[in-house]
Structures are given as structure tokens and as C-alpha cells.
């Protein structure tokens, strides 16, 4: 690795780069899935490559390759410089990076069981048992399960002297039952939709989730939804389960606080943000109960946004984003920190893999649990008339992250503090700031879960990134419900 690093950095600086960094990465994946009693996917992949990022003539260039020969590395580094010099043809000011101390460091995400030491037979046996349990429920027409492991080992070196070696393990697992009848397809998922739960953990995540124990209930709920009443339309108090609130945070807090969006750097694809710079420390983003942080540190938990250093060598940090309702922080990088008068990056620059340029990404954007003890059932008991919604089914938000609409897999009516009839096709919509200001209760730490969102898309070429979101069930007053089906 030392050789590859020095070939890349030496070539870049000799060709005129004023700054250069290189990321060399060794990735391994295992992806397994089943569908209706059969193995759907059984695949293992590995990749090894590197990417070189440079500043030359005051502009950025980046090149990546899987050719790790000396000639290949040097040609790629030279190409990065050539690209940077072309970038300089359309620039206004030279790129300047906020200072950062160059460190030598070593970090591995904590795990108890290396998932790659578990056998594929063992993995598939569990998935097929779950699959069988789901299909044992009459009316379930499709059962799907999945299990994924990833090990990412990366060496980061820079012309400033950084030398950082990090290894991260990720485990993801989940399943879904579908029921089709008449003119309707209903679905229930566990522990979350779109792939289940994902964390920077080893195989121990699998045993923590009581997967098999919940399968029959999940199958039964999918079938029950076919006969459930439709969710009414109107203004209601709603309680969101922690997984749905996690996605609400992702879309209506996590994305708008990305400073590159705010500065227009993502305008062509992911969009911009309603959170213009004048709103920092002036906007009342939410009610007094809303406290949200961007926390990449290990002590926050094994989220998909947990690391020791970001992909430009900045240490993991905790940034207060919303403090007692007040908007207090953005996600920043070494290039963008100065725009918010910060003297240091917030440490959020990450790349999907070594062949992609790192960009500002969410770390773990989490709402803090309520300080007073409050269980979900107590929250429901304190609600006179409302709707409890669980597990995301659809999500959409405008390109400034303001108008949103979410659909959930299942809802339940709340009457006089009791969860009553099941409701199908629940959905809610609103405007970001009004919505967060309507939050009047959040459950305490016992109900708080650090969810993983494994497939967040951003950038051109598009990059897929895992982000973490801790959340507990919370209540929002007078929310617009049901417009997803209005007029259809």
C-alpha cells in the first residue's frame, strides 16, 4: 500500500498538483436472498482499486482505476492532474481547503462475529426458515428475504501527510410478505422495509433482531391489510414509529442540511435546499422538543454513518443540527466550511467506493430521545384521537426538501388512548418546517433505534451511500393525512 500511495502522490505533485490524496480500497460483499422458498440470489464479490483526488491550477481533478501496477497508478494520478487543469478553464476562484491536522491512524468498526466467518448454509437456512414461516400464513402470495454483508478496508493518504487505515463491517437483513387479492397488493416488512435493518455490526445484528419470531405476525398483518378499512383523509394527530421517523429525518432534515446542496453544487440532480445560509441560528426548525445531531462518532452507535475519519481525513464529529428547535448546523467539508464561517470541516465527506469522488453525505442524523420516560404504548395512551403509522411504503420530497409525502405499510386508528382498528394505505404530507414544529411528544431512550438507510442516492455519477438515523416514536399534531389517494 505504501508503494501505491507514494506512486500516486509523487506523480500528482510532480505534475503540478498543489494538493493530492489517494484512497486505496479492498471491498468484499456477500448478498443472499430468497423468494417463495427458493434462493433468489447467491453472490459474492470483491474489488480492489484506488482513486486519486488532486487540486491543480486551483481546481479539482479525480481519476480512478483498478490497475494497481506502478504504470497504472502513475498514469491515473497524471490523468487526475490533467483533468484538474481542464477544470481550471472554467473557474472563478481557487479551491481552498480548511486546515486539518494530518494524522496516522488505524480503526476497525467494532463487531462480535465477523459475518464472513459464518457459513452460507447457515445464512440460507435462516432465510429459508423465515420464508417458510411467512408463507405458512394463508393469503401470503409472495415472501422475500435478504441478507447482506460488506467489509470495506481503505487506506487514505494525502500530500499533507495523512495516513489512515480503516476497516468497516456492515450487515443488513430483512424480509417482506405480500398479499395479492382482487385489486390490491399489500405488504408488510420486518424489521423495516426496503431491505430491513442495516448497521455497522457483525453477524450479531442478525441474532439481535428476533427475525424468525416476528415472521408469522408480519405475514398475518399483510393479509389483514387486505380487509382493513381505508385510512381516512383529513387533519389528524399522528404517531410515527421509529423507522418511519428515521426516514422523515433523512429526507426533511438530513438532505437539506447538506452544505453542497445549499451552495448550489447539486442543483442539476439532487437539487438545492430551502435552508439558505441566512437561516443558520435564526430558523425555528422545530418545536422545543426537537433535538437533532449529525454524529459520526463511534459512541453514537453502529450506524451506517459511523467512522473514525471521513474520506478527506477529517475526524468523526458530532454537530448539533437542531437544538431545542433552533437550526444550528450544516454538514460541511474542508472546501465548504468557510461558507459558514467555520474554521474546520464537519467531517462528512464520503464516497461510495474508491472510484468515486467523495461528496458531502449524511453521517448519523439522529433525533435525541425524550428525557422523560415515555414508552410507545404510553404515547398512544395519551392520544385522544389519532393515527399510528408504521413502516415506510413510499416517500417523496421536492428538490428543495420542503413539500413531502410519505406512505406507510400499516396504520391503526387511536381512539381515547387506545389502538383500535387497522387502517390500510396510510399516508401523510406537509411542509418540512411546519411539520417539525408540530411535534409535541417523543418517546424515551428505551424506544430509540439507530436505523440504517443503505441506499441513499446523490451525486453525478450517482453514488449510493449508507446513512444512519436514530429515532424514537413521536407524535405530530394536526397533520394532513390521506392526500396520496385523493382523487384516485
Amino acid at each position: 500500500m505504501k508503494d501505491i500511495a507514494s506512486w500516486a502522490l509523487n506523480t500528482a505533485t510532480q505534475r503540478g498538483a498543489s494538493y493530492a490524496d489517494a484512497r486505496i480500497a479492498d471491498d468484499r460483499h456477500r448478498a443472499l436472498s430468497t423468494k417463495n422458498g427458493k434462493v433468489g440470489n447467491a453472490a459474492v464479490s470483491e474489488s480492489f482499486g484506488f482513486g486519486v483526488r488532486v487540486i491543480a491550477d486551483g481546481a479539482w481533478g479525480f481519476a480512478a482505476s483498478d490497475d494497481l501496477s506502478r504504470a497504472g497508478v502513475e498514469a491515473t494520478a497524471a490523468r487526475a492532474v490533467e483533468i484538474a487543469k481542464a477544470s481550471a478553464r472554467v473557474k472563478q476562484n481557487d479551491v481552498k481547503l480548511a486546515p486539518e491536522k494530518a494524522v496516522t491512524a488505524e480503526w476497525t468498526s467494532p463487531y462480535q462475529i465477523d459475518p464472513f466467518t459464518t457459513s452460507v448454509e447457515q445464512n440460507l437456512e435462516l432465510l429459508l426458515k423465515i420464508d417458510s414461516e411467512l408463507r405458512s400464513v394463508p393469503g401470503v402470495t409472495l415472501a422475500e428475504t435478504n441478507m447482506n454483508f460488506r467489509r470495506e478496508e481503505q487506506w487514505f493518504v494525502s500530500s499533507e501527510g495523512a495516513d489512515i487505515h480503516q476497516t468497516k463491517y456492515t450487515t443488513g437483513v430483512g424480509y417482506a410478505a405480500y398479499a395479492f387479492a382482487g385489486t390490491e397488493i399489500q405488504k408488510r416488512s420486518y424489521p423495516n422495509s426496503y431491505g430491513g435493518q442495516w448497521q455497522n455490526k457483525g453477524y450479531e445484528l442478525i441474532s439481535d433482531l428476533a427475525l424468525l419470531e416476528n415472521a408469522r405476525r408480519v405475514g398475518e398483518e399483510a393479509v389483514l391489510l387486505l380487509k382493513a378499512d381505508k385510512c381516512p383523509e383529513g387533519s389528524f394527530d399522528i404517531i410515527l414509529d421509529s423507522s418511519q421517523l428515521a426516514l422523515q429525518i433523512h429526507e426533511s432534515v438530513g438532505h437539506p442540511i447538506e452544505l453542497d446542496r445549499v451552495l448550489g453544487m447539486e442543483a442539476n440532480f439532487a437539487g438545492t435546499s430551502f435552508l439558505t445560509l441566512d437561516k443558520l441560528r435564526t430558523l425555528r426548525y422545530g418545536s422545543d422538543l426537537v433535538n437533532i445531531v449529525a454524529d459520526a462518532r463511534q459512541e453514537h452507535g453502529p450506524g451506517l454513518g459511523t467512522f473514525a475519519f471521513d474520506d478527506e481525513g477529517v475526524p468523526a464529529q458530532c454537530t448539533p443540527i437542531i437544538s431545542n428547535g433552533l437550526f444550528t448546523g450544516y454538514l460541511s467539508s474542508r472546501e465548504t466550511a468557510h461558507t459558514i464561517s467555520a474554521n474546520r470541516s464537519g467531517g462528512t465527506l464520503r464516497a461510495e467506493s474508491c472510484n468515486r469522488l467523495p461528496i458531502i453525505r449524511m453521517t448519523n442524523i439522529s433525533i435525541l430521545a425524550g428525557e422523560k420516560p415515555l414508552a410507545r404504548e404510553q404515547l398512544i395512551a395519551s392520544t385522544d384521537d389519532g393515527i399510528y403509522m408504521e413502516t415506510n411504503r413510499s416517500w417523496s420530497i421536492d428538490d428543495k426538501r420542503y413539500n413531502f409525502q410519505f406512505g406507510c405499510e400499516a396504520g391503526w386508528e387511536i381512539k381515547n388512548g387506545k389502538r383500535t382498528r387497522m387502517l390500510k394505505n396510510p399516508s401523510y404530507s406537509g411542509l418540512t418546517v411546519a411539520f417539525w414544529n408540530s411535534m409535541d411528544a417523543i418517546c424515551s431512550r428505551d424506544e430509540w433505534v439507530l436505523w440504517g438507510t443503505p441506499h441513499c442516492g446523490k451525486g453525478q455519477p450517482q453514488q449510493v451511500m449508507g446513512t444512519g438515523h436514530g429515532a424514537a416514536p413521536a407524535r405530530f399534531r394536526a397533520v394532513k393525512v390521506g392526500s396520496a389517494y385523493k382523487g384516485n
Binding site: 423468494k35 417463495n36 427458493k38 434462493v39 440470489n41 447467491a42 453472490a43 459474492v44 464479490s45 470483491e46 474489488s47 480492489f48 482499486g49 481546481a59 479539482w60 481533478g61 479525480f62 481519476a63 480512478a64 490497475d67 483533468i83 481542464a86 477544470s87 478553464r89 472554467v90 452460507v120 440460507l124 429459508l128 402470495t141 405480500y178 395479492f180 448550489g264 453544487m265 442543483a267 442539476n268 440532480f269 437539487g271 430551502f274 469522488l357 461528496i359 411504503r393 413510499s394 417523496s396 421536492d398 428538490d399 428543495k400 420542503y402 413539500n403 409525502q405 406512505g407 394505505n425 404530507s429 453525478q460 455519477p461 392526500s483 396520496a484 389517494y485 385523493k486 382523487g487 384516485n488
Partner: protein
């Protein structure tokens, strides 16, 4: 670039090392470069060259896949060993067919035009910068801010198997996307083509700029049902959500909105849809994930879904299923994904039929008493899988039309619209063009004028 000869040599080395009953190798990769601009400067500029080899082995009906991007002898031996050890612990798959050979009857004969253009392969960072400079100069002239991309790539894709199948495809691709931003409005255009010389970055920038200027100071009009004129990119991003339901396996799995609807009139009689990889405006690989040539399939005829697409195994399974008499002709069509997979197949080269009396967007506007002109849609997601209700937002150029004229820009709408409803209310269509969006793969689609499109909310910009 990785050559076909080198790929064939890699396959031979893998085949010799493998002890499996059958072995299949996919080889893919290429060079790509993308210049990204925003705030009237180039702010990101990247290039990469990567290749991969993916090995599928079969032992007595058991199959699995392993992939690597390392091509040295040890790595190739290891990827074969990994694939084999993974395959051996699978349960036998009763639906798994022997790999296809080169001489099977399903081999197609349709000619696919060359999609490799030297001028695209040779695009330099300097040339991309010059293209961006031209776009930025147009932005500056209109007092706007430009953001977007200019990319070019050259790729290869090959498949080889132990039954003698050998297929190889090379192509190039170039893309320009431009967003023009004003204080309270924006405009957008995007185009993609295998031949970079067919892209006119300046023209795209001028159109995007005009949209940004003309939609300035947007009015807020109430949500409700409107006649809409969807430009091709907006049509593409909507209809792209239904084509995964046109695979035979989605019917067998009962997850398709076409369950019990094949053969029925579900769209207006003016809707004709093909999947046609050989269409001159299409791009992509002319064979599927098993190396079976893609057939031209007439999916929708006069608004009636007549045919589905099939991977080989799905076709065999369908022939013995309870659905076999209700889904039209059942045969492998060359639309399967690489095995093993859960999705089966999907049409990926969609071409809408040209209407008998095509209308331009301007003609559609001129014939509209009250309606909305939509440039682009955004963040579309499926709300209801069977009624195919989609939600999403308008973006980057939404206009109010009245008395046959564009009146002014309007604040963006959220829609909740069923594709069944939408494609049953197409009042007019234009000539289909190759369109690029963000939610779906590129297609050949027309602009459409649609009545009673369901806008449910309006946002604040």
C-alpha cells in the same frame, strides 16, 4: 479498452480451472469521464477505468455467482473457487435450465446498429471544459447560474459459457444535462446519445435558460385536476415505473399491476408500446443476462397489454402455470437478468409508437384552454402497486397555460396520479424522441397532452 480476444482468453482460463458442470463468465467495464459544473464553474471532474469478471457455475441444478475486478491468475482461480463453493451449498433449483448454446433456436436475427463512436470515445477533459464554457456563457448572457454535467464513456460487455456461447458488445455514450437557475425559477434540459456529435450543448442551454427566464416570479395556483402537457422527459420518468411489471415472473409472483389485466383494455386505444433494442434511437446490449438475443416485443397494442417479456426459465415456468392461458404468447424473449436473481426479466428498450397525427408541444399548448406545461418531474415513488398510483413533484420549468398560450411560471405541484388513468387520458401525442430523465432508463417516448392529471398539493417555490 479490454478487447474481446482478451475477454475470451480470460474465459478459457476460467473454464479450464473450473470443475463445474457448466460455467458462464460475464466480462464488463470501460472508461468513463464526467465533468460537473455549478455556480458557473467546474466544481467536480472525474474519470475512471474499471473492468469486472463475474463467474457463474452450476453443479447439478445448483448455481451461484462470484465477481472480481482482479484479473491475475490467482484472483481468477479464486473467483472460480468462490463461485463453485457457493454453488455447491445451494439447494437444487428445479427451474434452472441448462445454459444456452450459440446455436439455440432463440438466437435472434435482428440487426442492431453500431453504437460505438470514436468521436465519443476520444472526448477529452479539455473538450468537455469547452462545452461547459459554452453553457456558462449562455447562462451569463441571461444573468443566470448554470449547473449540470457533460459526460462521455466507452464500455464493453461480453458473455461466454461452456456450451459455446460467445457474445460481445461495445458502445459509447455521451450526455449533457443543464439546469439554469434564476432567483426564483429554473429551467432544465438533458440529452444522451451514443454519438457525442449529436448532442448540442448550446441548444440545450438556450432552452433551459428560456424556461428559467419565462418561469420567473412564479404564481401559485391551486392544486386540482388539470390538463397537462408533459414534455418527453416527464413522460419517461412516469411510465418507467411500470415496465418491471411487464416481466413474466412478476405475474407468477403476483406483484405486477398486470395481474389479471393482460389482454384487457387498460390504456387508451392510442397507446402502442414496443421493446426494441434495435430501434435507431435506442442503445444498449443486444443480448440478455444469459446471452440470449433480445427480441422485438409488441407489449401494448391499441391500449391492450398483449405480451410480456421472458427469461428462458420464466417462460418454461409460465407454460406450466395457472396463468399460462391469460398472458398472451409465452416464449423466451431475451430479457432476462444475469442469474441467479429474484426479478426474472424486464423490457429495457422501450419505444412508444408514433401517433397517426402527431402534435408538437406548441400545437398542444395552442389547443389548450386551461392547463399546465411540465418540463420535468422529480422524486417519483409508487404509492399503490396495483392501481399504479405514483407521487412526485414538478420541477425546473412549470407553466400555466390558458387560451392556447403559456401565461406564466407557477409554483411546483405534487401529483398523485395513476398510470392507468394517465395513459387512458392521452388527448394528444407528439413524435417519440429519445428522452433522458432521472427516475428511469432512457426511452423513446413522445410528449403527451393528458386530461384530468391529479395535482394534490402545491409547494412554496
Amino acid at each position: 479498452m479490454l478487447s474481446r480476444d482478451r475477454a475470451a482468453d480470460i474465459f478459457e482460463r476460467i473454464r479450464k480451472h473450473s470443475t463445474a458442470d457448466e460455467v458462464e463468465v460475464l466480462v464488463y467495464g470501460g472508461r468513463s469521464a464526467l465533468t460537473r459544473f455549478a455556480n458557473n464553474i467546474i466544481h467536480q471532474n472525474v474519470a475512471e477505468e474499471n473492468y469486472g469478471v463475474s463467474v457463474r457455475t452450476v453443479f447439478g441444478g445448483r448455481t451461484a455467482r462470484a465477481t472480481t475486478n482482479k484479473f491475475d491468475a490467482d484472483s481468477l482461480r479464486r473467483v472460480v473457487d468462490t463461485s463453485e463453493s457457493l454453488a455447491k451449498v445451494q439447494h437444487p433449483d428445479p427451474d434452472l435450465l441448462p445454459m444456452p448454446g450459440q446455436s439455440e433456436d432463440v438466437r435472434a436475427t435482428q440487426a442492431v446498429p453500431s453504437r460505438h463512436f470514436e468521436q465519443t470515445a476520444k472526448v477529452t477533459p479539455e473538450l468537455r471544459a469547452e462545452g461547459v464554457k459554452r453553457i456558462v456563457s449562455i447562462a451569463t448572457r441571461h444573468k443566470l447560474t448554470a449547473a449540470g454535467i457533460f459526460s462521455a464513456s466507452e464500455s464493453v460487455e461480453g458473455i461466454f459459457n461452456s456450451r459455446g456461447l460467445s457474445d460481445w458488445h461495445t458502445q459509447t455514450s455521451a450526455e449533457v444535462s443543464v439546469t439554469m437557475l434564476a432567483d426564483d425559477s429554473s429551467g432544465w434540459q438533458k440529452a444522451n446519445c451514443p454519438d457525442v456529435n449529436q448532442l448540442d450543448a448550446g441548444n440545450l442551454a438556450e432552452i433551459a435558460a428560456r424556461k428559467a427566464v419565462e418561469s420567473a416570479k412564479p404564481h401559485e395556483i391551486p392544486a386540482g385536476k388539470y390538463t397537462v402537457i408533459l414534455e418527453p422527459a416527464a413522460v419517461l420518468d412516469m411510465v418507467g415505473f411500470m415496465f418491471f411489471d411487464f416481466g413474466g415472473l412478476s405475474i407468477l409472483d403476483q406483484r405486477s399491476f398486470l395481474n389479471n389485466r393482460v389482454g384487457k383494455q387498460i390504456f387508451g386505444s392510442n397507446i402502442e408500446i414496443w421493446d426494441d433494442v434495435a430501434h435507431p434511437l435506442q442503445s444498449g446490449t443486444p443480448f440478455d443476462g444469459e446471452g440470449v438475443p433480445r427480441q422485438r416485443v409488441h407489449l401494448v397494442e391499441n391500449g391492450i397489454v398483449k405480451r410480456l417479456v421472458y427469461a428462458r426459465a420464466t417462460a418454461e415456468k409460465m407454460k406450466h402455470s395457472e396463468h399460462k392461458d391469460k398472458v398472451g404468447p409465452v416464449a423466451s424473449t431475451g430479457h432476462g437478468f444475469p442469474l441467479p436473481n429474484e426479478l426474472g426479466e424486464a423490457p429495457m428498450n422501450i419505444v412508444f409508437g408514433a401517433p397517426a397525427n402527431p402534435k408538437t408541444v406548441d400545437q398542444m399548448i395552442a389547443s389548450t384552454e386551461r392547463g399546465v406545461l411540465v418540463t420535468r418531474l422529480w422524486y417519483i415513488r409508487e404509492v399503490d402497486p396495483y392501481e399504479k398510483i405514483l407521487t412526485g413533484m414538478t420541477r425546473d420549468g412549470t407553466f400555466y397555460v390558458e387560451n392556447g398560450k403559456v401565461q406564466y411560471g407557477i409554483r411546483n405541484f405534487r401529483f398523485n396520479e395513476s398510470l392507468l388513468h394517465m395513459l387512458s387520458h392521452v388527448e394528444a401525442m407528439g413524435t417519440p424522441v429519445r428522452a433522458s430523465g432521472e427516475e428511469s432508463f432512457d426511452m423513446v417516448v413522445p410528449p403527451m397532452k393528458i386530461t384530468d392529471f391529479n395535482f394534490t398539493e402545491v409547494t412554496k417555490f
